[in-house]
């Protein structure tokens, strides 16, 4: 039961993080918000890892070189999220990022030849595309902004 709370809270914190970064982007820029997000996160994880130990456990040198590219991709990811959340809101941002993650995940699985259920994949992607279409075909989101 505690893990259910952990998992849900993890999702809530993803949203909180995006909102805090979005607020910072409002006063600076999306890229600056991304920089602070990474620097503060780095300090935080370093402190925790020093206390918990095991930062360099395993055989990290054996990992393929491209596995080390998550950082630069993450910088663009956080900057984009901070830029978007101010413009289209937390819910729309989250919804479209989820849609993009899910569909690109299926494409990646297909490209890498990971086995999967074709019917489920077609149904899942179809529902997501339908949801995006429902959202896009509406008038501009009625909100307290005027765009």
């Amino acid at each position: 039961m505690i893990f259910v709370i952990f998992a849900v809270l993890g999702g809530v914190l993803v949203s909180v993080s995006r909102q805090i970064n979005g607020r910072l982007a409002l006063s600076s820029s999306a890229m600056e918000a991304s920089f602070w997000n990474h620097l503060v996160g780095l300090i935080f994880i370093t402190v925790i890892a020093v206390f918990a130990g095991g930062l360099f456990a395993g055989t990290p040198a054996a990992a393929p070189w491209w596995a080390y590219l998550g950082g630069p991709v993450g910088v663009v990811f956080i900057a984009a999220g901070s830029w978007l959340i101010v413009r289209i809101g937390a819910a729309q941002t989250a919804m479209l990022i989820i849609a993009g993650q899910m569909i690109s995940g299926v494409l990646l699985d297909v490209a890498m030849g990971t086995g999967g259920n074709l019917l489920a994949r077609v149904t899942g992607v179809g529902l997501i595309v339908a949801g995006m279409w429902v959202s896009a075909s509406g008038k501009t989101q009625k909100a307290n902004d005027k765009t």
């Binding site: 893990f3 998992a7 849900v8 809270l9 993890g10 999702g11 909180v16 993080s17 909102q19 805090i20 970064n21 607020r23 006063s27 890229m31 600056e32 920089f35 997000n37 990474h38 620097l39 503060v40 780095l42 994880i45 890892a49 930062l55 360099f56 990290p60 040198a61 590219l69 998550g70 950082g71 978007l84 101010v86 809101g89 937390a90 819910a91 989250a94 919804m95 990022i97 989820i98 849609a99 993009g100 993650q101 899910m102 990646l108 999967g116 259920n117 489920a120 149904t123 179809g126 529902l127 997501i128 949801g131 995006m132 429902v134 896009a136 509406g138 501009t140 989101q141 307290n144 765009t147």
Partner: protein, 157 residues
Amino acid sequence: MSAPAINPYRIFHFLAAFGTGGLLTLMVLFNGTLAQFGSLFFSSWVPHLTGTVAALAFLAVLRPKRASTVRAPLWAYLGGISGGVTVMLTSASMNSALALSGTIALGLAGQMTFSLFADMRGLFGLPQRTPQMRDYSAFGLIILGSLILIFFGQGSA
């Protein structure tokens, strides 16, 4: 259908957000691969380290204009802590009976519910928005599609 109502800026934001989701897939692949060789701490520590360097490089090259001369409140600099805690919570629940699919599904639910609530209240100094019926329908379809992919899309080949 109601094509004339579509605002071109909205479509641009829409596509940008969708593409951003694709970046997340790459991050999961890269960081997850790193976690197979090093510890979970390491697989979160490395991208934060290289990300900090990459962000500095981007800032030096792009020199983005600051939106305001007024400093943001101090708490606005702490988004990274929330991200760091997320890594720990999700790694803990991934290794429980929930496994990866359960963790992702519950995480999506938490993220959507809290985002809707935050929009309604205008939390953290962001613009307040009232989701419409159409938004709820779109969310419902996307979450349902995601759940099908998470629980039935893989493994049962």
